[in-house]
Symmetry: D2
Subunit: 356 residues, 4 copies
């Protein structure tokens, strides 16, 4: 079987580099095109990246980010690590050109016809691409904001018990702001209790993901969410302190079982980047910690794809816990690749364009 | 007027050093005795401290921490920065010797006859010392845990509006664990979502402070508090993300006014270490930050004594905000000194022992 | 006596803010004008700065950085915290307008007629302004690069013993790169062994400062200097590991005495920002440390103006030590203010323009 | 072929854990015994370690560190990660029991009959064990201090050109002080320019390693070394700024070639943990950096075993560069394992005891 040619847009940023790492040896996909801003265009990937990578990838010449370059490369699947402002129109142009876009950017996350997808949580939402395919030869699938990627996964198994509201305080790593997004003077030895636009995204995106698909539309879950976001001097991994209120008391054991059994169904799809256990419930009293747990996830290909949950405390109809999600893997590039794997298994990639 | 002779127990730790700094030039108190463990005993304070201090203080010879040494020094007031385990009996022994002990240790905080005091919050609780004075020639007054010092101050003005419950996630500085309490390997570039015993203290101590004095006893405020504590790589200043639920909707303006006017009454006592405004409500969207706001408080003597509150967000009957408290000043040594100032003004020090 | 009106160019950066702090209550100077880029122009200083400052300073309206605005303000002395690229022409324009410019920028440091000045080291070089005054109504005086500010001070007393060469490895704080100059992702938990252009500056500037004034020209000291520069995750204070080779063996005591007595002569000038002891030789085996020693310097106005030296080790004709200099105070704004104070005492400011 | 049974002494520390990681799947060795202090004794390795490890290793029960437990386990090779004070006598006792001890501790490094070994640098020194074997049934082989492990490797290829002296300033990671050795309060945002005993070790150990084996004795290389050691807030990787003086000028290209070709000979031994290129000369102007380069080394088993060298600058007969060594891998556990591999290949392990 020939692998599907893919492109990574914005390959030099922190998320772009994760895309390259995850795709450089993928069973379904092969890297055919890397793009970046004019500054890096013309250089080889090996020149601009500090990561180890396979020689064939290091030798890839970076193109300037434009639809033409991508189309010329023959890529049928495009992964976008571009900022929302840049990606908005470009992703639409690629869709019009028959390309399947898996985007980490915020531009289209709330579009009615665009799935905001986490395979273990709302695989059925992928159905939405059919509305896009009625109007375009390609489609766009998005993955949520990095905080939401972890939060929605942890909340999903709890929805069974009737969630009344959710308080979440985040401890977000500097990589969440991008390679140049957080200056050392501001964050070293400090905490900044504000990230522009983040709290709004958490409310909207979580409600879309936990929403239900009804007649080709997503009905919001209308969950009350009270987020308080902060940046901490950590490199990778968004820690979150969550307290949820249920409609009635739930036993600690019941919740633990719900976390542990979460995602069993999705295993049958055999997505290569899906972790065997999407949620790891940690027993140690001082976990999860970004440094120790950010790369959680098995098998090897799924490292950084599992969400770690710890310090589960239940008091009548309230439960508190900490969760940790790898913000540039599960919360960005890895989430997007997993979505593409789901689309592949659902014959949305092959059926459209055939393999090379 | 002669100043009252004081001793600082445990003068070489982070809290002990703050005591020395706050007392070295105090209008009511003079340092007569410094104690520490056997390791530092016999050295001058100047030898063991890296802080700038007045020559007369640098020359003070450190004694080993024992009641006899303190009593011999003629100190009538003792400030304790000892760990709970060590201070428990020693503080009782000093009380039996007619000394007024202002303790930052946790040993006696929950004793029925011991005030757990924040002058701006529950000055009336000082009344409790009368029960001690019926049995002993001296008394013990405690200040709360570092997190509670800030939290109780921020909650006090909100109690008017009928608090239903409080969620608090803390970002605690390494100085909270003491000079040697947090090892670099564990915390650098990391967050540890657990501090042993801290969450229990927050619930108990906050409820005692916000409780009411009835017939020489404190009746707990029975407030539901759900704390989640973490250690962050910050040197000084405990940041807290707080969400409270009121019994009915409260307007944002009303809350802002409550914070701003808090503590006006206590100003009449003219305590030297009391900040003009005990709570500073910050307007900038990204404050308070430990690095920028930890030393808040005016006048100069009250630096680090004000609690900064920011990012006030109100949604119907819920309100969220971040607060910052200087953990070794307002949350420890400064809180204790302020308590002693209140006792002095209430004639509990002079009336007992006269000035030297 | 009326104070001399001054302007600070680039008042919103880390160095600019130090200028404002040092000048807001200065015995000779008064702030009449603050400038910054278009982004901050029109705002009050209080709006853009996170520092405490006097209300009269907080109320100053920031102008866009242009010569016209400065001249209109009536400032006779200008302190420049601008980047070299911006300040080059502007400083010359101000000089042509009869203004005395004290610049921290690198633009004119190596100009033959411009003094590169450290009052304790080469006060006589100030003489160079006379050549400027023959061609212009004003003049430019520069202070050296932040590393050189400390290094030249420590080397000066050693020159008596015949220096053969100097090896220096620097540990430079992130503030040296400016408010936005170092991104968190690059430096957190890391060391970057390179700072563009820094090593060349160290060689050239140190040799100009240690050079001798001969017939209105500076003759380089032709000292062999081998610098290796690095950035470390420290906020303020450039630590330097120095090893010098002398032409013959020198006793450790002799060197210690030379450091201790350094700068005695310059005290007679009574410059307000000059530290009583410009070099502090520390006895503790683990000092100087940025966190503990960066603010060294007495009296209060001279905090951050003393260079700390420690770990002096002598082996025959080689001597090694660590030194620490506050990079934005002695190494930038403070150095510039001290230069202006020297010029004032030498009647180069008053003589020219009279006081308001 | 049966693998040789080994024990790791002090398995719970940072170096001990690296030993376990390197040995858990080794072609020559198998873990038969893990020891630690009484506190961890009786627990399984999986309980005390935060690292991922093979189930068979996680299940190993930790013994208290005593010779008897080691001997009982049947281990023929012992790796010691103990502190010098503890390991001194214990290692001698194991040697008397016929065990081959590969020790990272400082206790025996300078013993005349004990090789201080880096296979690529002084493989011939292994010969020294013969003198031990004349007196004991077993022997001790040591690897150098973590700084020396990198420094001696970088200096070795330069010795051909006639070294006159070496200046080295170190930037040492906190892991060098052990898991609990550096407290956060001291190092966060700081640099501490002193590490007790380190500079003396660098001089002595480097001279022993670079010394020559003459009649079963090591003659010191008598190289003049001027070390200045500091601790920086970095987790892993000791960066070093080195300046060497040669007896005559050497061209930059010549030095680069010497670094690049270093260690070619030792490849023939096919030691599993030996990196293909023991010294990596980096071309980028801002490397090596701890965060980016600490794990350098190929193949996979040799990750962290290569020394990175960068910023090579040559000026007549002086050359400066930065080097980086992984302090707990090449500088500790990895160095020790490599030594054992060399001993195995030289038939010093098998010849003695046979395989199980």
């Amino acid at each position: 079987m020939k692998k599907i040619k893919t492109a990574v847009l914005g390959c030099t940023g922190l998320v772009g580099r994760q895309f390259v790492r995850l795709l450089e040896n993928h069973p379904f996909f092969v890297l055919a095109c890397l793009t970046a801003s004019a500054r890096s265009a013309g250089k080889s990937y090996g020149e601009v990246s500090t990561d180890f990578c396979r020689p064939v990838v290091a030798a890839l010449c970076i193109r300037e980010t434009r639809a033409a370059a991508v189309i010329r490369s023959g890529a049928r699947v495009v992964f976008s690590a571009l900022p929302a402002a840049v990606s908005n129109e470009l992703e639409e142009e690629l869709r019009r050109s028959g390309i399947c876009v898996f985007s980490n950017s915020g531009a289209h996350r709330l579009d009615a016809a665009v799935p905001l997808l986490i395979p273990e949580v709302n695989a059925d939402h992928l159905e939405l691409v059919q509305s896009q395919l009625r109007e375009h030869p390609g489609f766009i699938v998005t993955n949520p904001n990095c905080v939401v990627s972890g939060l929605a996964m942890a909340l999903k198994p709890l929805t069974t018990f009737g969630l009344r509201n959710v308080m979440v305080t985040t401890f977000q790593a500097v990589s969440g702001g991008g390679r140049r997004g957080v200056v050392a003077w501001d964050i070293m030895g400090n905490v900044v209790p504000y990230i522009a636009g983040e709290e709004e995204k958490i409310v909207r995106e979580t409600n879309k993901i936990l929403g239900s698909l009804k007649e080709a539309r997503i009905e919001s879950s209308h969950l009350e969410i009270y987020p308080s976001c902060s940046r901490v001097p950590v490199r990778e991994g968004h820690l979150q302190s969550v307290t949820v209120e249920f409609r009635q008391p739930v036993a600690s054991k019941t919740l633990a079982a719900a976390f542990a059994s979460f995602g069993t169904g999705s295993r049958q799809l055999a997505l290569p980047s899906a972790p065997v256990r999407p949620i790891l419930l940690l027993g140690n009293e001082d976990r999860p910690q970004p440094l120790l747990d950010v790369h959680a996830g098995e098998p090897l290909r799924a490292r950084g794809m599992a969400v770690s949950v710890g310090r589960l405390r239940v008091h009548e109809n309230r439960c508190s816990f900490f969760l940790l999600v790898h913000n540039t893997v599960r919360g960005a590039a890895g989430g997007s690749v997993l979505n593409a794997e789901l689309a592949f298994k659902k014959n949305l990639l092959g059926g459209l364009h055939g393999h090379d």
